[in-house]
């Protein structure tokens, strides 16, 4: 696929955190987007990029917010989401082999038909297997099952020179995990799976954070069957979730711990610990709601045009110190900071702190800057960044030891001597940006304890910040869920026809950009199925917007009746369309998704 306009290129580099244009426009552009469907396609792209002297930015579902997709050089983008076949399910060995562009949601659906389930998955269910392996790796159930790499038996890597299967036992394996696509492109993954089980969540409420944290430590120390998943929510996080409940119910103003068991649980021990720490169990519906919310970390985006924050891996013992510091920090700058911690083992947690901002105002700029201060606080508490991307480049030394980094850089040179894939990021030579970011980061650290000037300024603006609900296009969290379910995407295979793309284009139009005619015509290629509304984590009402958008486009290019008819017949006869529909309800025939031969 080639991109039809600059706008489309911009759309493909969009991530969950949107930058002010003043920053974004400084970066080089994506020249074109390729969607390989076979391994050969990837090799061809390598050759092409080499010839053109362009860089290659590999991409999954674009759900990371770390700036992984920022090209620091003229580049072409490799959108791997169409490399999405399921190749094999070995029910005896309990493994499934999939192409790396497959979304977790689709694996889950497929396995459900065979009474299997994945061990662990990211909170962004619509991200890809390869993407998660490359950028993160901790998520739901990571407490018991650990990092995703422990559950990958082998993966196929395509580097500019070759394509090989890398076993977990091999020395090279670790180089590709969390490498953010700098070492090579993960094309196939052999994952371990398990028999499906039913999780039992318990939500325990505490009047003080210290009690909640003590409860967690004691729970981990108990020798009983351990839970599969433990998360901690501070009261602000629950307060944000209350917005979503629309007054039908609400979480009390307390801190909470979500404990999830699978199969054997020891309720008695759990309840004993709850009583000991003066906690109590929340109502079932609140528990169920919060457990369901695990897949919607950005759901409050419905109410705010921007959510900023940091994601770090913190030692459990420092968590209470971190909480105290951040609370003070938020108070200083009038931020409504909320924190959620997901435990990945007995000692560490992935801590996710976010605060709402307003992308329409200048203050957004200062807030962006403050996210560095937040990372700085985490660093002070012994935290390391969860993912590097572009924005965390200054924190590289916290994520890797110098020895590791040296080893990794060496390997990068071996496997990608021309520095084609995702260049100028953590494992290759610097870009001037790194120094700028470093400067910003160093300056921001000065602000972490409350700046005498900035403090009153931001506090003054805080109450005025969130005037009115943001528009739909501002609330899009760019999570890509709509892309995965869009019937129009099946046919057109460009994100411009999906909700994510259309919201982006609409926003651009509001800001005065003119839509090229070919794109304006594509706006009509929509079944009005509102599957995008179904999966939208910001719970946006999208259909009225599509109607408006169509009216605008109709004025510009007219209504492409013939194209619409052709589109509908194509959709209805598309083999994947049935599977898509079945994922949402009663299916004609279970296990529609057949294992495909390649």
């Amino acid at each position: 696929m080639t991109i039809e306009s600059r706008l489309e290129g911009e759309l493909y580099t969009r991530e969950s955190i949107e930058l002010p244009p003043i920053i974004k426009d400084r970066f080089p552009r994506i020249q074109s987007v390729y969607q390989p469907q076979t391994i050969d396609d990837i090799s061809k792209v390598y050759d092409y990029a080499q010839k053109k002297k362009w860089a290659i930015i590999p991409r999954g579902a674009a759900t990371s917010g770390m700036g992984c997709l920022i090209p620091l050089k003229k580049a072409l983008m490799l959108d791997l989401t169409r490399l999405n076949r399921i190749l094999d399910l070995d029910e005896k060995q309990k493994t499934v082999t999939v192409e790396a562009g497959l979304r977790w949601w689709e694996i889950k659906n497929f396995l459900k038909g065979h009474s299997f389930d994945i061990y662990t998955c990211p909170t962004s269910l619509f991200s890809t297997v390869g993407g998660w392996l490359s950028t993160g790796g901790y998520g739901i159930n990571s407490f018991k099952y650990g990092h995703i790499s422990r559950l990958v038996d082998a993966m196929e890597i395509v580097t500019p020179s070759k394509s090989t299967w890398v076993e977990r036992k091999s020395r090279e394996f670790k180089y590709f995990v969390g490498a953010e696509g700098q070492m090579g492109i993960i094309s196939k993954v052999k994952l371990r799976v398990r028999e499906a089980t039913t999780p039992t969540p318990y939500l325990v409420l505490f009047d003080r954070a210290s009690k909640a944290l003590r409860f967690i430590s004691e729970l981990m120390a108990s020798s009983e069957p351990l839970p599969v998943h433990i998360s901690y929510f501070d009261r602000n996080r629950l307060g944000h979730k209350n917005l979503l409940l629309e007054g039908k119910a609400s979480f009390p103003d307390m801190d909470a711990v979500l404990v999830v068991y699978e199969g054997a649980s020891s309720e008695k021990v759990l309840l004993g610990l709850v009583a000991k720490n003066e906690g109590f169990l929340a109502e079932d519906y609140l528990t169920a709601f919060l457990w369901n919310e695990r897949f919607f970390p950005f759901s409050v985006k419905h109410f705010y045009s921007s959510l900023l924050g940091s994601e770090t891996i913190l030692p459990l013992k420092n968590l209470s110190r971190y909480m105290m510091k951040t609370r003070k920090f938020a108070e200083n700058y009038g931020l409504s900071l909320s924190t959620e911690a997901t435990f990945i083992n007995k000692d560490e947690a992935v801590v996710f702190s976010i605060f709402p901002s307003d992308s329409r105002r200048f203050i957004h700029f200062i807030h962006l800057f403050l996210t560095y201060s937040l990372s700085h606080i985490a660093g002070q508490c012994g935290g390391r960044p969860y993912g590097i991307g572009t924005w965390n480049l200054p924190l590289l030394h916290k994520a890797f030891s110098p020895k590791d980094l040296k080893e990794l850089r060496q390997f990068k040179e071996e496997s990608d001597p021309l520095n084609l894939i995702n260049p100028s990021k953590s494992f290759s030579n610097g870009h001037y940006l790194k120094h700028l970011l470093k400067m910003a980061q160093t300056t921001s650290s000065l602000f972490s304890n409350g700046h005498p000037f900035l403090k009153p300024f931001l506090r003054f603006f805080a109450p005025r910040l969130h005037s009115g609900k943001p528009q739909e296009w501002e609330s899009c969290a760019s999570c890509g869920a709509c892309v995965a379910v869009c019937p129009a995407y099946l046919i057109e295979t460009t994100e411009s026809v999906t909700a994510k793309g259309k919201l982006f284009l609409y926003q651009k139009m509001q800001k005065g950009a003119s839509l090229p005619e070919s794109l304006a015509r594509k706006i009509f290629l929509c079944l009005h199925c509102h599957l995008c509304e179904y999966v939208c984590q910001s719970k946006l009402k999208l259909l009225p917007l599509w109607e408006r958008f169509e009216i605008l486009s109709e004025k510009k290019v007219g209504r492409p009746e013939e194209r619409i008819k052709e589109f509908i017949s194509k959709v209805e006869s598309h083999p994947d369309y049935v599977r898509l529909l079945d994922a949402f309800g009663v299916s004609l025939n279970h296990n529609q998704r057949k294992i495909q031969d390649v």
Binding site: I564, I568, V586
Partner: protein, 461 residues
């Protein structure tokens, strides 16, 4: 050249009859995915013509409630509820099902299909307590035009000779053969609607049968159809009427009032008969009793047809149902050994295809359709009929579609008659007359089975 009787049908929809048994409701959950389109073979689900990306509201009247769309909707966005409008059609005799069936027959001219078959009940009032014997498993109208052999549905109206007494001087009485044992009534509800009368008359003319027309509604417009017109007089009108139009009519009926002078009737009949030699004469009765005077008129050849008149629900005087009345008349004439010489007909309450053969089994030669003709053109048998606010706009209906729908209905009913005859192994509908052995009557079976128990205790009627 031999010409096989054939009725030309033409599918003809009316917007007023688009009332389904059930209403399909498409909820907001609908994804416009189009799976219901692929599931529905009746095309109840369609994409909107102006914007094919969206679905239209389901066309519920096309739905045959097979539930395929509901079961296969990926969103469970479809539901089916009873249609209030359908439930409120008609009355206890002209049930919603009966009206709906006639609508379908009149629209398509085909035998209706009831999905999962007839599920009972196997007894009921009126025609529903007759079971016909249909042991031969043949479907002539489906498997071949008339199966292996031609089945005749023609009947004769009028008088026949019982024997020939003088071969040198044979005087043949008048009789008319009509190709179907069904006659029409042009004025079923007394609405006096010109257009409807003409449509029914034209349909009768096309089909080769008769339509009864009250003489007061006779206009020059009727003249071209006079040979298909059965003129109906009250006794009063008949005594006053001296000249045309009745002289050219082939069939003349005189409605008998409750009280009349037999002598006067005889005088009128004699006068009319002498002026119109080719006409056959019918007496309209509202009770199945043949007095001595009337019997004499029959015996002497003044009356050729006895037509039992009942109301729209088949009730004659003393609430006697048409089938029982006709059966009584028939047996009476059999007992008087004159049955074969004249014709018996019945009018009223004929609401379904099977009522025609059932009436014939009870002893009639033919039946007169009345309200079913109006239903064919959309009538809903409202409890109070107000032509000015008719939901089906019957007064405004055009003549051509009305005629065609009546023809369609007749064809569907004749086809069903053929099916019944062939299932009985009968090749001529005339052979079915009075063949009670071809049917079972519920009361009789009940009496046979349980009578000996209840008669003693006096619990039977």
């Amino acid at each position: 050249m031999y010409k096989r009787y054939h009725i030309d049908t033409l599918p003809l929809k009316l917007s007023s009859t688009q009332v389904g048994k059930f209403v399909l409701i498409r909820s907001d959950k609908c994804l416009n995915c189009g799976r219901c389109i692929t599931q529905c073979i009746y095309e109840a689900h369609r994409r909107a013509p102006d914007d094919p990306r969206k679905m239209t509201e389901p066309l519920s009247y096309l739905c045959k409630n097979c539930f395929a769309c509901i079961q296969n909707c990926p969103q469970q966005a479809l539901e089916m509820v009873k249609n209030e409008e359908f439930e409120s059609l008609g009355n206890t005799y002209w049930t919603p099902q009966i009206i709906h069936t006639i609508w379908n027959e009149a629209e398509e001219g085909k035998i209706p299909v009831y999905g999962a078959g007839y599920r009972g009940p196997f007894k009921g009032s009126g025609f529903d307590n007759i079971w016909t014997d249909m042991s031969e498993i043949v479907r002539p109208t489906r498997d071949g035009i008339h199966g292996r052999e031609y089945i005749a549905t023609a009947v004769d109206l009028g008088r026949k000779l019982a024997w020939i007494s003088d071969f040198k001087n044979i005087h043949f009485p008048n009789y008319w053969e009509i190709p179907i044992p069904m006659l029409f009534d042009t004025n079923p509800l007394g609405l006096e609607l010109k257009n409807i009368q003409m449509a029914i008359l034209e349909a009768a003319h096309t089909l080769g049968t008769f339509a009864f027309l009250d003489v007061k509604n006779y206009t020059p417009e009727v003249e071209p159809y006079l040979q298909s017109t059965a003129l109906r007089f009250s006794l009063d009108e008949a005594s006053r009427m001296d000249s045309a139009p009745w002289k050219g009519a082939r069939l003349i009926e005189i409605l008998l009032p409750d009280e009349f002078s037999p002598l006067e009737l005889e005088g009128i009949l004699l006068k009319m008969k002498s002026q119109s030699q080719s006409s056959i004469f019918s007496l309209g009765l509202n009770k199945p009793e043949i007095s001595e005077e009337i019997f004499r008129l029959i015996r002497d050849g003044q009356v050729d047809i006895l037509n039992f008149h009942s109301d729209l629900e088949g009730k004659g005087r003393d609430s006697l149902f048409i089938k029982d009345a006709v059966r009584r008349l028939h047996l009476d004439l059999v007992a008087r050994r004159i049955r074969d010489e004249i014709t018996i007909m019945g009018k009223g309450g004929i609401a379904a295809a099977e009522h025609v053969p059932k009436l014939i089994i009870c002893g009639a030669d033919a039946g007169v359709l009345d309200l079913s003709l109006l239903v064919a053109i959309g009538c809903r048998v409202c409890k109070d009929c107000h032509p000015e606010r008719c939901p089906a706009k019957i007064p405004d209906i055009e003549r051509d579609p009305a005629r065609q729908r009546i023809i369609n209905l007749t064809c569907a009913w004749r086809d069903q008659l053929l099916e019944i005859l062939s299932a009985m192994g009968i090749r001529d509908v005339r052979r079915l007359r009075g063949e009670v052995g071809r049917a079972m009557f519920y009361e009789e079976i009940e009496k046979e089975s349980f009578g000996f128990i209840f008669e003693k205790s006096g619990m039977t009627k």
